[in-house]
Amino acid sequence: MQQIFNFIFKNSTRILFLLLLSISFLLTIQSHSYHKSRIISSANFFTGGVYEEINNITEYLNLKTENEALALENARLKSILFNTKDTTTIKKPENLKGVGPNDIIVSKVIHNTYNSHENFLTLNSGANDGIKADMGVINSLGIVGIIDRTSPRYATVVSILNTKSQINAKIKKSNHFGSLTWNGKNTGFVQLVDVPRLASVRKGDTIVTGGQSVIFPENINIGTIHKYYYEENTNYYVIDVKLFNDMTNLGHVYIIKSRDKEEVTNLEKGNKKDE
């Protein structure tokens, strides 16, 4: 017994180091295995509060670009409104299927990372505003990411610039779909993989979100085809997509509550039970 205590006292530093190291390794591996299991995130009172304070100051530096983006969006919306035959009737947003007028939450990005392989954003609204995990996040130019974790006042978003994110997307012209991933290299480009070789792919074609995803409504802009090539051992295209969004400079974003989601997941659950 004496010897055990002696051993512990002698190696106390090493034991402490190994203990803490195993905790930190556990946290690291957990964060890499699946994004839901992340224990520590910046969606909490402390870090969210600090980021909001920092954002309050730095926001002023981006007022000009933010204003320009808003003016552009206004112009686009006005052009849609004036081109309808009867300008007094409000046009139904048919292309956003399953999304009602109360299902869009406006929020602001208070922290943005884009320099690692797994990037996250922090938003200044959370569960109190009705945000839940797995909701889609877009802005006026295109998609931004998917909600990861929420706290009462803040939420984190898995950016599309995250090697773990996978979003269903399709070529607007031909409806051939694939999944949108990121190879971790360039912040301006993401990759659309698993597009069948039959698909007619041309440089400059638009890529939009596909109908298979219940997170995003169909036909939300993503980007244009920049480059495409075959993968060596499969017969699928890999397409480099140039994003409409500048992911390094994000201001206000919209969070979409998809009403279809519950219905679709319930239906699929029912199917599995029947089998």
Binding site: S24, L26, L27, T28, S31, S41, T113, H117, G184
Partner: protein, 168 residues
Amino acid sequence: MNSTLLLNILRFISLLALQIVVFNNMTFLGFIMPLPYILFIILYPVNSNRSALIISSFALGIIMDLFSNSGGIHTTACLILAYYRPYLFKFAFGVSYEYQTIKLNESLTPERFSFIFLAVVLHHLTLFILEAFQVSFILDILIRSLLSTVFTIISCIIIIYLIKSNKR
């Protein structure tokens, strides 16, 4: 004794604040980010309590991880640097480093520079390996750690000189 404790607490808070407010927003070429917060571990007194250093670097790393949504990569890198710091001292200053009065925040000699260099390389390599967590990114890891090391060392030396001029 009490003043060194106070100094270290002050250093801990101010370096973290500096990292989060200033250096986290400072990215070159989209992926290079200087991380001068590890200066806390580098500048920690040589002959002070090692367990205290390990616990405080765990806290340092976990706060960084909270802010950057990165799981436990900063924590692991900080812990490894804190634990292997005596070996780096031995390598840079010779075997009898414990009997010398090493003050890193004085003029920059080759020994001091080599110590800072080794510490930063060790920290950044573990950090970027854990961040990518894939063998296929090995070239990317090396480029990232090399370039970030350069920027971290530059920012560390600037901060060391700024602290020094304040004292006089």
